[in-house]
Amino acid sequence: MSSSDASDLGAHRDGNHADPHLAHHFDSMETQNHASRLGMWLFLGTEVLLFAGLFLGYAVNRHFYPHTFKVASHSLNLVLGTVNTVVLISSSFTVAMAYYSVKKGRNKQAAGLLGFTILCALAFLCIKAFEYQHKFQEGALPGKWFHFHEMAGMPGANMFFSVYFLSTGLHAFHVIVGMAILIWVLRRLIRGDFTRTYYIPVELGGLYWHLVDLVWIFLFPLLYLI
């Protein structure tokens, strides 16, 4: 078998002679997507472990100060927390729909959906900033800066707000990063980079955004509800 035969076979196998996005060391788009996806899931695995440490800190302090944690969680604004949950869940839905639209070749629809997702991210951050500002004014701050009169003298109250600011702060940082990634994906989408066969940045950007949603799904009940 000559070398030209072999390359013909390779081109035939992926059924796509001229896809410029196929790196030469992958024999088809399918294997390339497979590898990209695996890399993303490995990264998401480490993200889960990163947040697990903060959830553990919450659990240990809650075990020591159960009553304080209940009172402190009721001092957070449940309406704003619920609105933010709905905003994140809906943005997760629209980013999944954007991925679906790109795969169907409806790039305009996908651009609209991605734009809406980015607006949701912005709305989430605005609401969070409003909540933070309120906590700053009340003095419900972490560690030695704590001077919240309503909960003065309750042991563990400053620990609740330490965990609150650390976990929601790290989460908000992820929202900012996720928003930046989605803006980059949207820019490439408008530029016409993505096709029915090359859509992996939309998929992986979407996966990152779903992780942001996933973390919030656990943070919300633990911090605001119980």
Binding site: R37, L49, L56, A59, H63, F93, H210, I217, L225
Partner: protein, 136 residues
């Protein structure tokens, strides 16, 4: 070779589902959110925390399986995420195992409950060297 092509085709077809799936998952997530908000503020005693965690786990499972496509993804991705969750479990089990058993075992029989915030009402616990200093 023919087998691989066939497999690839089958795999592509597994991804083929309408947008209806995403809408259904979105609605289920909204219903679960309302449920957890309503039940979270009811006084269910000790049941509040487990109920909220069960609802959150259901929501997270829906997001991971259908929004993140782990349901019809390659097996290796399921393995990676599964192992990550497994190690979170190991971390939690190890720490909780210590947390729930250490203080009762170190206290004399019939001693009061080991929650630190009760130290204020039980002066004999206040001088335990391990207890962190209470804020103000």
């Amino acid at each position: 070779m023919a087998n691989q092509t066939k497999h690839t085709k089958a795999h592509e077809e597994a991804h083929e589902h309408g947008p209806g799936r995403y809408v259904v998952i979105w609605l289920l997530l909204l219903v679960a959110t309302i449920t957890t908000v309503v039940t979270g503020r009811l006084d269910l005693g000790a049941a509040n925390l487990p109920l909220a965690m069960v609802i959150a786990t259901i929501k997270a499972t829906l997001v991971v399986l259908f929004f993140m496509h782990l349901w019809d993804s390659e097996g290796i991705n399921r393995l990676v995420f599964g192992v990550s969750i497994l190690f979170v479990m190991v971390l939690m089990l190890g720490v909780f195992g210590d947390l729930f058993t250490r203080m009762p075992m170190s206290l004399p029989p019939n001693a009061p409950s080991p929650a630190l915030e009760q130290g204020l009402n039980a002066p004999e616990l206040e001088h335990t060297p391990e207890s962190p200093t209470a804020p103000r």
